[in-house]
């Protein structure tokens, strides 16, 4: 029971904020055109959920995020592995990648719109570009910092290159790869929402921008709250995955 009480503690501030917000809105201290009451936001959510608009927009955004993450993260992971394994490959590709990295990927938006218009490809491209770097950098770092003594042990005990990779190098790099993944998830939502806000005909960002045109502040606030929830959800999923695969790590040991 004590554990339950402790985990409840992290809800005190968010719930308290909502209560204060509701109280101020009910008392008329906050104008509904500036910040609608939580009940009004909830009502807007209920309305959009019933009409199906909310789900289709969340679905479209989640799909874009997932595809972009899979493409950008996949390429970043592969290049990180390749450059971690081969100095030659690193010399060939890393300087170029580091150069591209210094460009804020959102600065590419005008160019991307010129290239791809405002259809799916543009959003997926931006998300992929955004998540690529944290995954790439942290995978490379993870591989590079694998304990060389363990690698030597593996070789001395006759491990093949494949066994060395799957049993020593990859597990050793995993904590760092997860750091990259969690960064990437944050960038994924950020990129997607910005891209959808600027140019889209569906998705959460579009829903918010569309609501702004009609002065529907409750829907705008609802969208923002959903971003927060989705971001938190993605981070929790990554944490869960981390916990499951790093159960050997002293930091996760639950004996």
């Amino acid at each position: 029971m004590r554990l339950d009480l402790r985990s409840l503690q992290s809800f005190i501030i968010p719930v308290g904020l909502i209560l204060v917000w509701q109280a101020l809105a009910t008392a008329g201290e906050i104008s509904g055109t500036v910040l609608p009451a939580p009940t009004a936001v909830f009502a807007a959510g209920w309305r959009l959920a019933l009409s199906g608009e909310l789900w289709s927009n969340i679905g479209v955004s989640a799909w874009r995020a997932a595809i972009g993450l899979a493409i950008g993260g996949g390429i970043g992971f592969t290049l990180g592995l390749a450059n971690g394994a081969s100095r030659l490959f690193e010399r060939l590709t890393d300087p170029t990648l580091q150069m591209i990295r210094t460009i804020p990927h959102l600065a590419m938006i005008p160019l991307v719109i010129l290239w791809f218009g405002i259809d799916e490809t543009a959003k997926i491209f931006l998300v992929a570009l955004g998540v690529f770097f944290p995954v790439y950098l942290n995978t490379l770092h993870g591989i590079r910092t694998v304990d060389s003594q363990l690698v030597e042990m593996g070789r001395a005990y006759g491990m093949s290159n494949w066994a060395l990779f799957t049993r020593v190098v990859l597990p050793g790099a995993l904590p760092s790869i997860f750091v990259g993944l969690r960064y990437a998830l944050g960038i994924m939502w950020l990129t997607l929402i910005v891209a959808e806000t600027i140019s889209a005909s569906s998705g959460l960002g579009y829903m918010a921008m569309n609501a702004r045109e009609f002065m529907m502040v409750d829907v705008v606030v609802l969208s923002i709250l959903i971003y927060a929830l989705l971001g938190k959800l993605a981070d929790s999923a990554a944490k869960l995955l981390e916990r499951a695969t790093l159960s050997w790590h002293p930091a996760y040991l639950s004996v």
């Binding site: 030597e152 005990y157 006759g158 040991l253």
Partner: protein, 279 residues
């Protein structure tokens, strides 16, 4: 003086060793001829000739930086020689196993899976697991098989590393100061364990250590390396199990330390160094 400065010392097997228990290891001898090794311009080993007969427990002692670890790593093939030849176990490349100063266990593998790393490829997974459990039993850790390495103490980790080295029944076991980081009591326990498994399995053991008394407690023969060359080659023809601090051991220890420190200061009977050796 019991110490003999010979490179071709007549080797007599230890008296108390139970010959009947020894496995058949026909070709587990080690022969080095004219072995030299340098890192860049810096010579580490100079023209070493050494023959270790099958089943011998050889200890290599010397000051840090004298080249003793490099010699061991060259024997097991972790370093290539700059010149000269190495023949281990009749040329079989996978006959030897090494134990490092650090346990070097995979933190993400359960203890039994860490031991399984030492099982040679080819057998089934169930056989490998069985062999690993048997090896763990040998070092007294069978009940910890399913745990993570991080929960073990330093001495226990090193015992798992020993099980990993032994699970494939190597013909040659190279030990690179494996007890150097352990506390004094754990170290004595580990020495006893090492001696027991060596007597049971009969592999050829090469132990690198900076601790002369450890070398004398375990080895049939002690080789002293100085500046990359063999400076002393002593047969330790004492019955096993050896009693710590016996007069014979103290005498040999004194002789080796004499040689080791001879260039700087020769310890006398009154010097603290010698008294420590006799005590």
């Amino acid at each position: 003086m019991t110490a003999r400065s010979l490179s071709t010392v007549a080797f007599a097997p230890g008296v108390g060793r139970p010959v009947a228990l020894r496995r058949d290891a026909p070709n587990a001898s080690i022969t080095l001829r004219g072995l030299s090794k340098s890192f860049g311009d810096k010579p580490v080993l100079r023209d070493i000739d050494l023959h270790v007969p099958a089943g011998q427990f050889l200890a290599i002692v010397g000051r840090s930086g004298c080249g003793k670890s490099t010699l061991l790593r060259t024997i097991v093939g972790l370093e290539g020689p700059s010149s000269g030849t190495i023949q281990v176990a009749g040329g079989r490349s996978d006959a030897g196993r090494i134990m490092f100063q650090e346990p070097r266990l995979l933190p993400w593998a359960r203890i039994v899976d860490n031991v399984r790393v030492g099982v040679r490829n080819g057998g089934s997974k169930a056989d490998a697991r069985k062999a690993a459990l048997a090896a763990l039993d040998e070092v007294g850790l069978a009940d910890r098989a399913g745990e993570w390495p991080s929960v073990l103490s330093g001495g226990q980790k090193q015992r798992v590393a020993l099980a990993r080295a032994l699970v494939s029944h190597p013909q040659v076991l190279a030990l690179d100061e494996p007890l150097g980081a352990l506390d004094a009591l754990t170290r004595i326990e580990m020495q006893t364990l090492l001696e027991r498994v060596w007597r049971e399995q009969g592999f050829t053991a090469v132990l690198v250590t900076h601790d002369v008394s450890e070398a004398l407690a375990l080895a049939d023969r002690v080789v002293l390396i100085e500046n990359g060359a063999i400076a002393l080659d002593v047969a330790v023809d004492l019955p096993r199990p050896r009693r710590r601090g016996s007069v014979e051991i103290a005498k040999l220890e004194g002789a080796i330390l004499d040689k080791l420190f001879g260039d700087i200061e020769r310890p006398t009977d009154e010097s603290p160094l010698h008294r420590e050796a006799v005590a």
